[in-house]
Symmetry: C2
Subunit: 267 residues, 2 copies
Amino acid sequence: MKKNNYAIGVFDSGLGGLTVLHELKQIMPYEKFIYFGDTAHIPYGNKSKSTIEKYCLDIINFLETKKIKLIIVACNTASSVALKKIKKHTKIPIIDVVSPCVLNAISKTKNNRIGIIGTETTISSKSYQKQIRTINKNIKIFSRSCPLFVPVIEEGETQQQFVIDIAKFYLNKFNKHNIDVLILGCTHYPMIKEIIKKTLNSNIKIIDSATSTAKHVNDYLDNKNNKSDNNEIVYDEYYVSDKMVRFYDIANMFLKQKIKKIIQINF
Amino acid sequence: MKKNNYAIGVFDSGLGGLTVLHELKQIMPYEKFIYFGDTAHIPYGNKSKSTIEKYCLDIINFLETKKIKLIIVACNTASSVALKKIKKHTKIPIIDVVSPCVLNAISKTKNNRIGIIGTETTISSKSYQKQIRTINKNIKIFSRSCPLFVPVIEEGETQQQFVIDIAKFYLNKFNKHNIDVLILGCTHYPMIKEIIKKTLNSNIKIIDSATSTAKHVNDYLDNKNNKSDNNEIVYDEYYVSDKMVRFYDIANMFLKQKIKKIIQINF
């Protein structure tokens, strides 16, 4: 097999990364994707750096057994705290979800006031802040962890009034801070993008990991002349470390299509 | 050391089991306790039986390296799906949190209509239902998983209006079912007992794992003549598999006292 027809590996702590995969598949329908969801260890969002690093290296070791040309860390928490360790561990090129969001947000802000929301570990790592400040020191950054968004989304209860109340509880301060861009720094959050939008002043643009990363990956493969030359859709592969309760329902909700087969891997 | 002065091991998927430990320490202040919270794998509530069994056996192996006279499975999910495997694996006597609640609930109901709430894995295991029906086939059982309670409690956001709305969303149906006892089948739930109480009709008695199990353990040790003969308070030991963000805050909130030292163990 020619190397440009190798698969693109995509992994996340669980199923949130499927929002990234959805966008990747929209832009690059002829690429083959191998998805790994670390559902035995979900969520990463409140765990420590060293524990998350350990889980990520196990996943990289697994992906390295496959024919892979690129790995996407489709988890903001892992991208925020484990990226250095991951890049050191493998020769396969790595793309994370933080950098594409940062570049996208900086290009969109007009008043240099950016908000960021994410899990506790992502926010307390200050990964977004550091990357933004490296590029532009004049940008004011406002951040908040929103730890209840992930469970609310995974339960599929996004139509209840209390979700709007939780969104208001977390997001009201961003309106006061007069930001003009909000980064959704968690791959789950695109699932409640409309609720988040309604809670915020109408001038605030929303940047999410899924669309930002998919565009970035597409540009990257174009630049490297490394796109697949298939002209028909190939079957993707899905692996998880545990088959959670209501697993397929949640997965299909994130990917917006039915997954036929998901294989469980025990490390 | 005399065997009756050995410690009591208590474990949970994370920190919820500290509500059980709190009650144990209230009733038996002179016992020594060794607590293990499997924070690297939290939560168990939506993971599969086989994965939870594996995690539990690792914890039992760790506790067996200590001088332990009794192990308490202070987690409803583990008690519901892994108890058989645990009991087969060790010679140390095991007490779970489901049986004490079941006995307590059956003794309290007058109209033979009992409600149960818990995590998804606990509720779908039907562990409570099976045990209740073994004792009394005439009892009608109504159950519901309440997966958002655990994250809401762990975030310490129990004073927000949306918590009351979430409680109403989950619990309203129990009022219609005319139950007179509700079992809180998760060791986290005692933290929002007052909110749950306010949501329910005033005649509904609430049974929780913490007080039911503590009383059961006290009776068990009395019957076996196996209480500690210390007459001063000994230091407990606390172990976890990961030091999560805001770890000490959450632990102190559950235990209602300050823990000085928590040791991290990597399996």
